[in-house]
């Protein structure tokens, strides 16, 4: 098997809820592989987002190590982590979370330019291609408020892909969408996971998403309860 794009080793996360410290994520080992559509499933409050944000270097684990494409980033400064996020990760949030002040196109371009990087003609071309692939061509100049929920979420996917990330992390990206939009978004993500250089992780509590999974990881009470590969409909 290929080298994992994300490797969690003995990762733990505690939260202080105002009264006491609670272990939200039990000691967890998890490898995410490229070319695979990994679905993290579990009931609300089970720790899915916590796990996903630790993988994405957005949240620091209380204990344990995080290795990104062979590089142990544990203990990196905030700025260095931000730079790794910028280079390696694409994020899709529960709501599209577009910046309302920016056009659809600018929302995508800002994702490569937040650290001051210039928008090169190549980047612009790449963005155009993404918009075309995602059926967003005529929406590029519109502001998020002028788009439907499904269209906004597709813009968010384009934003996640603009820097050609090796990991795409999606937190319940279809929970706010209607059935048709959900299917469109899931089909898109599934197609993207076929890229042998990219891993896709999707968090959900919706069993209707399970059929899309190459690998289904079930989480209960902050711990991995099942981890199955369902390629071809069966276990490994």
């Amino acid at each position: 098997m290929a080298e994992p794009v994300v490797r969690l080793k003995g990762v733990v996360r505690d939260f202080f809820d105002g009264v006491r410290t609670r272990r939200v994520l039990q000691q967890t080992d998890l490898d995410v592989f490229p070319g695979e559509f990994t679905v993290l499933a579990g009931p609300s409050g089970s720790g899915k987002t916590t796990l996903l944000t630790i993988m994405g270097l957005v949240l620091a684990p209380t204990l344990g190590r995080v290795v990104i494409a062979g590089e142990d980033v544990t203990g990196y400064s905030e700025d260095r982590l931000a730079t790794v996020r910028l280079r390696k990760f694409g994020f899709v949030f529960q709501t599209a979370a577009l910046v309302p002040a920016l056009s659809a196109m600018d929302n995508v371009l800002i994702a490569t330019g937040v650290q001051g990087g210039r928008v090169t003609p190549e980047l612009r071309k790449r963005a155009d291609t993404l918009f075309e692939d995602l059926g967003l061509k005529e929406y590029a100049r519109l502001s998020p408020a002028q788009l439907s929920g499904g269209e906004q979420q597709r813009v968010a996917i384009a934003r996640a892909l603009i820097s050609d990330p090796s990991v795409l992390l999606c937190d319940e990206p279809t929970s706010a969408l209607d059935v048709d939009s959900s299917k469109l978004v899931l089909d898109t993500l599934k197609r993207l996971s076929r890229d042998p250089k990219r891993g896709v992780v999707l968090v959900t509590h919706d069993p209707r998403v399970f059929p899309y999974a190459d690998r289904l990881v079930k989480i209960e009470d902050g711990a991995i309860a099942h981890d199955t590969r369902e390629i071809g409909g069966g276990d490994e």
Binding site: A82, R85, F93, A101, Q115, G117
Partner: protein, 373 residues
């Protein structure tokens, strides 16, 4: 892209952006207007000295300004003329008097008596007549801006100042004193008004030969006249301004209003920028999650502060220019030396940046993880 995003965000949050801009406009306009008035007043304070054409002023011992008329022996004039550094030396007689208006009321005036034929220290801007009219012993000039205060005298009217009859021979244009209405007259009339005897004068004006060294000449004058003080024109002007600014409380009063204007503007800027950031916390969280460092967020907000500052400064100066042109030539003192606007703009931009500090703090404290909630 960061700067582009910063500007788009400002345009999107029009109401709060306009509020912040208003804060900057308030600072530029209120403070600028105060500065213009103060600088107008300050220029009045030393106007006689500044416009005298003299290089050196002689004053009484222990007098470092020309608020109070000095008292010097006339024979100093001849002594000064004996120095070979000196081109000319002329006495000036300052006298306080009461001008009787046509309606019988009295108005205090400051009579400036000029020695013929050079008329050193005389008026320099005329609405009617010229300095030649003062060669007549009875002649005086009054200023266009003081006509109303003085009961509307016209050229060739005969008036009384402290019981001394004088004839209005010319009207000066915008020559305003600080310590009273200026009336220029002959040396003799000023003596009569102020009961200054023929062997005394208030000040002596001196100009040096072109090749003379001012410091050297000053030292020689001081040695020659141990009973008097000698100042360069610039020194005396500065001393006089400082005297009025500190002794009359005018400095404090203007300082306070200026400070109040600044505070009002800064409070508006701080509150509106903070509000804008509060409304955009979610955007900053998303940008952070996408890979923005704290410094990138800081840069965005800082850039917004600068843009707000620049726009507010432009609008503020536009309004200020309108105000200054509108009040030009009126009795309202106002002047805007060219060095003030750039400093004022720079100072305001710095205030704007400082005022964005709270907003920046809030924006950089946003956790990237909160984008997932």
């Amino acid at each position: 892209m960061r700067r582009h995003a910063a500007v788009r965000m400002l345009l999107h949050d029009r109401a709060t952006t306009a509020g912040s801009v208003l804060g900057v406009v308030a600072i530029i306009f209120l403070v600028g207007q105060q500065l213009a008035t103060l600088s107008g007043l300050v220029s009045y304070m030393s106007v006689l000295v500044d416009r005298s054409g003299a290089d050196i002023w002689i004053t009484s011992k222990d007098t470092d300004n020309i608020n109070s008329a000095g008292d010097l022996p006339m024979k100093y004039v001849d002594r000064l003329l004996a120095l070979d550094d000196i081109e000319w030396a002329e006495p000036l007689v300052l006298a306080g008097g009461l001008l009787k208006r046509e309606d019988g009321q009295f108005q205090p005036v400051r009579v400036v008596g000029l020695a013929r034929p050079r008329m050193a220290g005389g008026p320099w801007e005329f609405a009617e007549g010229d300095i030649g009219v003062l060669l007549d012993v009875d002649a005086v000039t009054v200023d266009r801006l003081d006509l109303e205060t003085l009961g509307g005298p016209e050229v060739n009217d005969v008036l009384e100042i402290s019981g001394v009859r004088v004839r209005v021979a010319g009207i000066t244009d915008g020559i305003q004193g600080f310590a009273g209405t200026l009336v220029f007259a002959s040396e003799e009339k000023a003596r009569e008004v102020g009961r200054v005897s023929d062997d005394r004068c208030s000040n002596i004006l001196v100009t040096l030969r072109p090749d003379a060294k001012p410091n050297h000449a000053l030292a020689r004058i001081r040695a020659l006249l141990p009973g008097a003080e000698a100042y360069t024109t610039a020194e005396l002007a500065t001393n006089t301004k400082l005297y009025y600014l500190t002794e009359t409380g005018i400095g404090f009063s203007f300082g306070f209003t200026t400070f109040a204007g600044i505070m009002v503007g800064v409070v508006i800027i701080v509150l509106t920028m903070y509000t804008t950031v509060l409304n955009r916390v979610r955007d900053f969280a998303v940008l952070r999650a996408l890979g923005a460092r704290k410094s990138d967020i800081r840069l965005i907000v800082l850039y917004q502060a600068l843009v707000i500052g620049l726009i507010g400064t432009l609008i503020g100066f536009f309004l200020l220019a309108g105000f200054l042109f509108g009040t030009r030539g009126s009795q309202l003192p106002s002047s805007m030396p060219l060095w003030i606007p750039p400093l004022h703009a720079l100072f305001t931009l710095l205030l704007c940046v400082a005022g964005s500090g709270l907003a920046i703090r809030r924006a950089t404290r946003v956790e990237p993880a909160s984008a997932f909630r």
